[in-house]
């Protein structure tokens, strides 16, 4: 029984924290662009974080999603815009569902940072299902993918398509497509609409997705986003607790008043809860795949709604300063709105929890 992190994992965490502090502070992320991404990506590839979950035989570190969780918690805490989640999902998909040839072709390039993936699964904005993948692919792809994460930061995109054999993920070169930046609320989670105009598609660029595969990749997505939410929510709690200790109103720090104190305590309870749910789900990705769907849904469902409220209350408890552009707490509120529905909102995931729980 050892439901905690190892010393190595804590060292990894410290390394990420240092990197965020030194190289990717909030000041950097406010003006983040493709160039910044490529410069930093090179560094983190050297640090081994990009290929964290890639087996050593493909040039990766051969670690697990629990280790990745450590990284994502900390990048989430810093609202770091590096496309780690998109690339972790690309790796997970290739590892689970790709051919040996595909693994040999792509994983080493991801690990060394020469290939960076944007990722987009569905075409309906609020539908998690294989039928929500509608872009058609044959020997070429023509059409539009409405929401592809990180497409503008990446060298390639991996997108959900429908082939004559069913759903698949397609790997497409960035140069073959036209990516139009979406004006998203959370600029640290850039996304694009991607247009495909007669883009040639050979068989080796398709990774077929069975129902179980799609469930797996969506669950991994939910785990990754929830890991980022844990760090981000803890950042809101820390920012707001500190403010509550310092801000004097009516002669006392506002944190003395139970109206503030108890709400912060409830935030702590929520974060502890979805953090524990998350850790178990992350462990399931590698060590108990049969439990993954349920565990991921519990974590994402809880976090989606709790973090949404934490974002709102974090801003609200700061009073007027909280919603000024220059103050950081509002950035987290925007992140919460982005994260809330990515890979499924609470309605979707709670319903899945009910189903998997026998109702």
């Amino acid at each position: 029984m050892n439901f905690g992190f190892t010393e190595e994992q804590e060292m990894l965490r410290n390394q990420v924290v240092r990197f965020i502090d030194d190289e990717c502070s909030i000041d950097v992320i406010r003006t983040f662009d493709r160039d910044t991404n490529q410069a930093l990506w090179k560094k983190i590839a050297e640090l081994g974080w990009v290929g964290l979950t890639i087996p050593e035989r493909f040039g990766g570190s051969g670690l697990k999603w629990v280790d990745l969780t450590v990284v994502l918690e900390e990048t989430g805490r810093g609202l770091c815009p590096l496309p780690l989640t998109s690339n972790a999902l690309a790796c997970a998909s290739i590892l689970r569902s790709g051919s040996i040839a595909q693994q040999q072709e792509w994983l080493p390039k991801i690990a060394n940072g020469s290939v960076i993936f944007g990722f987009g699964l569905y075409d309906e904005p609020n539908w998690i299902d294989k039928d929500a993948i509608t872009l058609e692919a044959s020997d070429h792809i023509t059409g539009t993918k409405t929401f592809v994460s990180d497409a503008l930061l990446a060298t390639h995109v991996m997108v959900g398509v429908q082939t004559k054999n069913g759903p698949a993920l397609s790997i497409v070169d960035g140069e073959a497509i036209n990516s139009i930046a979406l004006d998203v609320m959370d600029r640290t989670k850039p996304a694009a609409q991607v247009q495909f105009d007669q883009v040639p598609a050979t068989n080796d660029r398709f990774i077929p997705l069975t129902d179980a595969d799609l469930d797996y990749v969506n669950s991994c997505g939910a785990v990754a986003v929830t890991a980022e939410m844990v760090g981000a929510a803890e950042a809101v709690l820390a920012l707001t607790s500190n403010y509550a200790k310092e801000r004097i109103q009516f002669g006392h720090p506002i944190g003395k008043y139970q109206g503030v104190k108890h709400r912060l305590a409830d935030m702590f309870v929520d974060i502890e809860s979805f953090k524990s749910l998350l850790y178990y789900a992350a462990w399931c990705v590698d060590d108990a795949t049969g439990d993954l769907s349920q565990a991921a849904s519990r974590a994402k469902a809880h976090a989606s709604d709790a973090f949404a409220q934490i974002g709102i209350d974090g801003v609200g408890l700061h009073g007027a300063i909280g919603f000024t552009a220059e103050y950081d707490v509002q950035l987290y509120l925007k992140r919460a709105k982005w994260a809330r529905t990515m890979f499924g909102d609470s309605d979707f995931h709670y319903n899945r929890v009910a189903t998997l729980g026998g109702l």
Partner: protein, 381 residues
Amino acid sequence: MDFDFTPDEEAFRTEVREFLSENLPPRNERPGSFLREWLEKVRARGWVGFSWPKAVGGSDGDVARQAILKEEMALAGAPPLGTSFMGLAWVGPGIIQYGTEEQKTRFIPDILDSKVTWCTGYSEPNHGSDLAAIQTKAERVGDHYRVNGQKIWTTGAPYADWMILLTRTDFNTEVKHDGITCLLVPMKTPGVEVRPIENMAGDRHFAEVFFTDAEVPIENRLGEEGRGWAVTISALANERSSIGEVTQMSGKLEDLKQLVRESRKQGAPASDDPLVRRQIAEFETKIAAMKYNGLRYLTRQLRGQPLSSETSVNKLLRASLEIEMDDFAVELQGQEGVQLQTQTARWARSSLSWPNVVIGGGTPNIQRNIIGERILGLPKD
């Protein structure tokens, strides 16, 4: 109990409606000159400062007609009746109650004629909710006050002509409410510097305002020296029935229902989803509660009974609705909901603007204190 207005009152409603049908073209058919003409027309009707005394240019409009006017204007989605929201909402009433005759003559007509806009210099960096703790200093020097200090979150400051400013003229009073003095300050006064603040939605409606030896003539003091707190309290209390707000919220709910009708959730019409239906019904019910709360309170006013702090009830309801309706709309739209340039991006933008309403009018926790202490009689913090 009845919900009928008198025949006279209904005649007034008809008058308003006829005016609106003649003078309020659909939003996309309004000429560039529309707003200026609109303001002149409603002014000519006597609807600007409708409740103000005739002596200062108002119409002595009674509570029922005020409610009717507000409701019809909100129902029609009409533009405001003047360009200075704060001028009409509390600066004007404050001047009418506390101003000298000279001040009334000098300030009221310009407010009614939309010639000037006002902003409100209350909050300071270290005293958000605790207004009485202000530190901006006004020293009497000859025939003027010399003002030094800083205000913040001053809504409208970047484009206002005048400010109603709370200063402290006495730092040695036993009770911090004493020693506060209210000044009416031209924004162009030398030594007044406005630095706009950008909010999370990217707007720059409010600002920091710095005062460095800014000189304000004594004749611009509103009320007596050291008695500015009374002016402030009366200004803050100068809120009437929330009927206009309710109509606004109802309009927003109708738009939200339309969004639901046009949206899909998990591959099916969102309007079929019981969780969506429940959420919309809860919003509908809360807005109806605001409406009937408002009508109960209006009835008390019509009967000449004083209102206690019951207006905090609708403020709390509105605060939660403002947050929740936008948040729901954003969530419903999934990955489309977090974008700022879609057809339905108003929901995303508005989901970043609720603090204007929710924090601006006194935080929800302050409203709960008011209810707990003033209505339920619980001990003060």
